[in-house]
């Protein structure tokens, strides 16, 4: 017998740590390094309030980042999330705007109660996910193309319903509550709490549930996954619907916060969600990555963008910074993994 029973089963730290945890740790390390540099270089960076903001001001990106990361792990993209956020937000407004109150078309809605409006809006969000799933999982069309199309579809619907502008009148009072509510006595918004809750749920999903495990299996080896009895079509459908639902939730929260359904909301969020996933070590090449990494990536992005603001750089710097940061992240992760494999 060549197995030492008293040692087997105990996962050794260090060289036995999974590659995922390794990369996540590296990116967290990068985060701290960047943070340190920022504190040194940017005036007023090191303030408690600022640090809280760093963790929370990307909350909307983090929520959609969950769905985008999981899909990325299976080797697929979801670029429809930005348009979906806009569309769902607009619908949430439209459905509960009072009916027949004004000459202005944009001020009339369907007059439904807020709860019902939210539910219907989320259903609409998920139908975008269903379209994505159909083309990608069933027809096996490359996800980059399909989700570009549904991105335009969703945003386009938002534009039609708002006639290119926004809807922000005749709203019930309850509309603005959930988006601007804070925990009593703290500056922490409910949206942030929801974000934290979803991240925790996503992490549990990823580490401890069967469907979470399936996501990694599909990403690691789709053929073996199929031969091991995983229904890949069903699972991808599930992931696309979830991603759409998460986008929908974000849309509801944002619409509530600004008390408006704006057709140009969330422009570019799909790419930012991709950026934070990549910064966090999620790799399209094979079942690798973690939502915690994505979260770290979001904080890295926060540090970069707020440092830029703090250094009085114009907002136009963000694109270049995002591009360079993503590139460095990808190359660093690859280098680190190669070194580890020896």
């Amino acid at each position: 017998m060549n197995v030492e029973t008293n040692q087997v089963g105990k996962p050794l730290i260090g060289s036995r740590m999974s590659n995922e945890s390794f990369i996540t740790l590296i990116m967290v390390g990068v985060l701290f390094v960047l943070f340190g540099i920022a504190c040194a270089a940017v005036p007023n960076f090191y303030l408690p309030r600022n640090m809280l903001n760093l963790l929370t001001n990307n909350w909307y990106l983090i929520i959609v980042g969950i769905g985008v990361s999981f899909l990325l792990i299976t080797g697929n993209f979801d670029l429809s999330v930005g348009g979906n956020i806009a569309m769902t937000g607009v619908f949430s407004v439209y459905f509960c705007q009072a009916a027949n109150v004004s000459q202005n078309v944009l001020a009339n809605g369907l007059g439904l109660p807020y709860g019902l409006a939210v539910l219907l809006a989320l259903l609409c969000a998920m139908s975008i996910g269903a379209i994505n799933a159909f083309f990608v999982a069933k027809l096996k069309v490359p996800s980059i193309i399909v989700t570009l199309g549904t991105m335009m579809l969703a945003r386009g619907i938002a534009q039609i319903v708002t006639q290119g502008a926004q809807r922000n009148t005749s709203l019930p009072d309850v509309f603005g509550v959930v988006g601007s509510m804070s925990i009593k006595g703290t500056p922490i918004k409910v949206s942030v709490v929801i974000m934290v809750g979803l991240v925790i749920a996503a992490y549990i999903f990823e580490r401890m549930t069967v469907p979470g495990r399936r996501t990694y299996l599909i990403g690691a080896n789709p053929e073996a996954a199929r031969l091991s009895g995983i229904n890949v079509v069903k699972h991808l459908t599930f992931l696309y619907l979830t991603s759409a639902l998460l986008a929908g939730i974000t849309g509801i929260l944002l619409a509530s916060e600004f008390k408006a359904g704006v057709s140009s909301r969330a422009l570019g969020y799909e790419f930012d969600a991709l950026v934070i996933s990549l910064l966090g070590g999620v790799s399209i090449a094979g079942g690798f990555g973690s939502v915690l990494g994505m979260f770290a990536g979001a904080v890295i992005l926060s540090v970069i963008t707020s440092s830029a603001t703090g250094l009085l750089l114009s907002p136009n710097w963000q694109f270049t910074l995002k591009g360079v940061a993503t590139l460095i992240a990808i190359l660093t992760q690859r280098f680190a993994l190669d070194k580890r494999k020896g």
């Binding site: 490359p142 335009m152 579809l153 386009g156 290119g164 694109f319 591009g323």
Partner: protein, 345 residues
């Protein structure tokens, strides 16, 4: 797979697959014609056929063709790249950056030719970067070119902030009026130099695809990379060259756009990658590579232009995005039905 003997009699299978391949060749022209007809008749109640305001009036045609110059200039090269199995999502931002640089040079007194040459060289450098990331560093094309998309866009925005007044003219410097000449001035039949250059570009690329080694190798790499490598083709070099070529034509398109708009707008190229993808899909290029046709992509580009300009006359502007998304999904379905050979056991 056991095949039957080869008889000389055409079996029903042969006839239906011949029919199928004919559909594959001509469907896109049919689609174009249908679209043109739709937009020609849709407002017939209000405007006279071929008269002012009509889709097929000489003025509208000229406007459409002038606006189509950038995508026509670019999509041929884009097709070649896709045939080789690669993609470039940064073409839109590349175009904007080139437009900005070109306009900036003109504004600062550069004559046309030097400005043009510098812009083209810059475009090739940008394509070189793409090739480096995708082919040499082996980053997935989608992600690699998304990174450069952000980089180029960022640089363009840093040079010139967004907004219509960008580089048009400032107190100290005036944009010379002749910048318009390339893209607007009537040279022949009401169409500008830029248009004829675009036609020449199409011709060149069709020749490249059909008659040069680059075209053949692009198809070989996209069709069966292993076979290509075994035959001694330097796959890395070829794919890299294709990216540089795309960069070159993105620069040409950007320059045309700057000339048309008399300014360098760092957001002017936004969406160009999408338009190219739709054009390529409509034209029947397979996403896995190996198959594709430059002329059909150009027809696809024309279809997009017709749809976007035609729709502007018929529906309010805020319907445009949905329309484009639907066209893309329609193109996906079309492509799926026609290109994907369903594996028959």
């Amino acid at each position: 797979m056991k095949t039957g003997g080869e008889g000389l009699i055409q079996s029903p299978m042969d006839r239906s697959s011949a029919f199928r391949s004919n559909i594959k060749k001509f469907y896109i022209y049919v689609v174009l014609v249908v679209i043109v007809i739709i937009f020609s008749v849709v407002k017939l109640g209000q405007v006279e056929m071929f008269g002012r305001g009509h889709f097929l009036s000489p003025d509208s045609i000229i406007v459409l063709l002038r606006a189509a110059v950038p995508i026509i200039t670019l999509s041929g090269a884009f097709t070649l790249l896709m045939i080789s199995g690669n993609i470039d999502l940064s073409v839109g931002s590349a175009m904007s950056l080139n437009a900005v640089v070109f306009a900036l040079m003109i504004l600062n007194g550069f004559p046309f030719l030097p400005a043009l040459i510098i812009t083209l060289i810059m475009g090739m450098a940008m394509g070189f970067l793409n090739g480096f990331l995708v082919v040499k560093m082996r980053i997935t094309p989608v992600i690699g070119t998304l990174v450069t998309l952000n980089l180029f866009k960022g640089i363009a925005l840093l040079i010139v902030p967004a907004g219509l007044s960008a580089i048009k003219s400032s107190a100290e410097k005036q944009m010379p009026a002749w910048i318009n000449d390339y893209a607007r001035q009537d040279v022949f039949l009401g169409l500008p130099w830029a248009f004829y250059v675009a036609l020449a570009v199409i011709a060149v690329l069709i020749i490249v695809q059909r008659k040069t080694i680059l075209g053949k190798y692009a198809a070989a790499i996209g069709g069966n990379r292993t076979a290509a490598e075994l035959s001694g083709i330097n796959v890395v070099k070829m794919a890299w060259i294709l990216y540089v070529i795309v960069g070159f034509f993105a620069a040409a398109a950007g320059m045309a756009r700057a000339s048309y708009m008399s300014l360098g707008d760092p957001l002017s190229g936004d969406g160009m990658e999408l338009d190219n993808i739709i054009a390529v899909l409509l034209g029947g290029t397979a996403f896995s590579g190996g198959e594709g046709s430059v002329p059909k992509t150009i027809v696809g580009a024309l279809i997009i232009m017709c749809v976007t300009t035609g729709l502007m006359t018929v529906i309010p502007a805020f319907w445009q995005t949905v329309a484009k998304g639907s066209v893309l999904l329609f193109a996906v379905v079309l492509n799926h039905v026609l290109v994907r050979e369903k594996v028959k056991c």
